[in-house]
Subunit: 353 residues, 2 copies
C-alpha cells in the first residue's frame, strides 16, 4: 500500500458483507499498515531501514516508495475471523500485523537461504543490505511479531498459537531444503511440508482472529482448521503459479520453480506417475547444468502437465478448499457473518495470479 | 552439563547463601538444563538436532556428548534475582531457559554473519549444518524463548522485557557490524553498543527473575539496571579476554579479537589515545592483509596495553560493577538475600577467564 492509504485504523469504514475478495484484501492492508508502521518505527534505526525496505515502504536509503508488502492474505484472515465472531471493524489489527511480520521474517530468511535475488519485483533485502542486515532484520521482525500478538486479546493462548505456527513453518522450511537435496519425495511428504510451511501460519491467523473476537475453544479450533486447510489450497495454487503463472503478476520469472528445480507438488505428482513423461522429467531434473534455457523450461512444464501434475494439484486445491469450508460450517456461526471468509477462501483457492 | 546432571529441577537442593560464584553457576545449569531439554525436545526433529548440537548436548548425528552450553551466567542471574525476592529454589527456571535460548540464538546467527568457525571449542553450527540449518535453528530458538517466558510469571511484562532486550541486542549487533566497516569509532559509541549487545539481555535476565519472584516495579527496575550495568562490566572483561585471555579457557585462539580486527573497547580506547602507539596500532589495523602472524598479534596487543587500553577498560569494568551494586542496594532487599548476586557480580566483573 502507499503512504496515502496509511491512516488510523479507527477511521476505516468496513466493507459490506457482500464485498468482493480484493476489497477485503485492500481493507486489510488499510487497517494493518498503520499498526505495522507504528511497530516498525520502534525498532533500532538500522533494523527499521531493512524491515521497511522489505515491506516496500521505502528504498535502501529510506526514501518513500509505494512497492507495498504483498496481498495481505494473512492479515485479512485475522480480521475476517474476528469479524465472523461479531467483533467490530479493526479488531485484531495487532495480530494481523504480527502474522504478517512472522510471515515476512520467514521470507527474508528464506531469500538468504535460497539466494533468491528478487522479492515482490524488487531486489531481495540481502542483496541490498547484505546477509548480516537481512538476517538481523528478519530476527527483529520475528521478535516484534510475538510482542505484537500480546496486544489484542488473551495473551498466553495468542502467543502459543503464533509460536506453534512459527515452529511449524521452520520445520516446513527444513523439509523444503531437505527435499531439494533428495532424489525422491512422495506426494504425502510434500503435502505435510506444505501444511507446515503455509498451512500452519494461515491456521494461526484464523485462530488469532477468532481468539481476539472472543471465540470459544471449539470455534477457535474450527477456524484454525479452516485456515490450515485453506493454507494448503493456497500453497497448491502457488505451486501451480510457480510453473504456469504470469511473470507480470507473480513477480517471478516464468517457470521459476522449474528453473530452481524445486520439488513442488505438481512436479512430485508428475514424477510419481508411471508414464514416459515422468522418466523424461526426472532426466531433466537430474541434468547438470539444467533448465537454464527457455525451451527446456517450456518442455519441462509441458511434461509436468502431460503427466497429470497440473490437473492433480488443481484437484487437491479444490479438495482442501472444500475441507476448509466444512470447518467453517462447524463453527455454527451465521452464514452472513462468515460470508467474507468464504468469499476470500474461494478466491485464494481458485485464483490464477 | 552432562546428561547425568540433567534431573528434575524440584530435586535440586539450593546452595547456601555464602556459596561461591562457580557453585551458583553450576546450580543454575542443573536447574535450567532439564527445562531447556524439555523445550527443545518439542521442536521439529531437524531444528532440534541443530539446537541441541549448538547447546553441546549431542554431536551432528544426535549422539550424546558433554560439551555443555556455556557458563550459564544469564540463567544464574534470573534464578538469583528471583531468590533475592524470597522465591523458593527453582523459581524462574523457564525464564532462565528462555534467556539462555535468546542469547544462544544470537550466537548462532552471529557465527553465520562473522563466519566464525568455532564456538565453545567445537565447530560452529553453520559449519556443521550449513547456513540454512543454523539460520533456521536460530529462528527456532528465538521463537521458543519468547514462548517459554510466558510460563513462569506475569505474561505481558515478561514478554515485553524479553522482546525489548532482543530488539536491543539486534541493534547492538547492527552497530557492531557497522563499526568494523568504519575507520573511527568513539569510546561512547562502543559503550552504547556493548550496553545494547550484552547489557540489555543481562538486564532482562534480572528483571525477569525479579518479576517471577513477585518484585514491585521499583525493585524490578533496579534489578534490571543492576543486570544492565553488570552486563557492561562483563562485556568489558570479555573484550580484555578477547585480547589477553588464555585460549584454553576462552575457547578462542590467542588475540582472536585483534586477528579479526574487531574494534573492541580496549582497541578503541588505545586508538583514541594520543601517543605514537595509537598511530602504529591504527597502521596495523589498516594494513591488508594484516594481523595473521603471531608476532604481529603480540605486537598489536602490546601497543593496546602501552596506549593504556587495557588499564582503561579494566577501570571501566570496575566502575560498572560499582554502579551495578548501587542499583542492587536501591532495591532495599536484605543484604543476606542479595548476597549470591553480589558474589556472582564481583566474580563476573573481575574474572580472568
Amino acid at each position: 500500500m502507499n503512504a496515502a492509504e496509511a491512516t488510523d485504523t479507527s477511521t476505516q469504514t468496513a466493507p459490506a458483507d457482500d464485498a468482493g475478495p480484493e476489497t477485503w484484501l485492500h481493507h486489510a492492508r488499510k487497517v494493518t499498515d498503520p499498526v505495522l508502521r507504528e511497530a516498525v518505527d520502534c525498532l533500532h534505526p538500522q533494523a527499521r531501514i531493512v524491515v521497511g525496505y522489505h515491506l516496500g515502504w521505502w528504498d535502501a536509503h529510506g526514501r518513500p516508495v509505494t512497492a507495498g508488502w504483498g496481498k495481505a492474505v494473512r492479515p485479512a484472515l485475522v480480521l475476517l475471523s474476528a469479524r465472523a465472531l461479531g467483533a467490530r471493524s479493526g479488531t485484531g489489527a495487532h495480530c494481523a500485523a504480527a502474522v504478517q511480520l512472522a510471515h515476512d521474517s520467514s521470507l527474508l530468511h528464506d531469500d538468504i537461504i535460497d539466494r533468491d535475488d528478487t522479492r515482490r519485483h524488487r531486489p531481495a533485502a540481502w542483496r541490498v543490505f547484505g546477509v548480516a542486515g537481512a538476517l538481523l532484520g528478519g530476527d527483529a521482525m520475528l521478535a516484534l511479531a510475538v510482542s505484537l500478538v500480546q496486544h489484542d486479546g488473551p495473551s498466553r493462548p495468542a502467543t502459543a498459537a503464533l509460536n506453534e505456527a512459527v515452529q511449524e513453518f521452520i520445520g516446513g522450511q527444513f523439509e523444503d531444503i531437505d527435499f531439494e537435496e533428495r532424489a525422491e519425495v512422495s506426494l504425502a511428504e510434500c503435502t505435510t511440508m506444505a501444511a507446515r510451511k503455509t498451512g500452519a501460519l494461515m491456521g494461526a491467523a484464523c485462530r488469532l482472529g477468532a481468539l481476539t473476537g472472543g471465540a470459544d475453544e471449539v470455534q477457535a479450533a474450527e477456524l484454525g482448521s479452516f485456515g490450515r486447510s485453506l493454507g494448503l489450497a493456497f500453497q497448491h495454487v502457488d505451486d501451480l503459479l510457480g510453473i504456469w503463472g504470469d511473470p507480470g503478476a507473480t513477480g517471478k520469472p516464468a517457470g521459476a520453480d522449474l528453473h530452481a528445480r524445486k520439488k513442488s507438488l505438481p512436479v512430485v505428482a508428475a514424477l510419481g506417475s508411471d508414464g514416459r513423461e515422468a522418466a523424461e522429467l526426472a532426466e531433466l531434473y537430474a541434468r547438470d547444468p539444467a533448465l537454464d534455457d527457455a525451451d527446456i523450461l517450456r518442455r519441462a512444464a509441458s511434461l509436468v502437465e502431460r503427466a497429470g501434475g497440473r490437473q492433480r494439484v488443481g484437484g487437491l486445491a479444490r479438495r482442501h478448499l472444500t475441507e476448509a469450508l466444512d470447518h467453517l460450517d462447524a463453527t455454527r456461526l451465521p452464514a452472513s457473518d462468515t460470508r467474507p471468509l468464504r468469499t476470500l477462501a474461494a478466491w485464494l483457492a481458485l485464483r490464477d495470479h
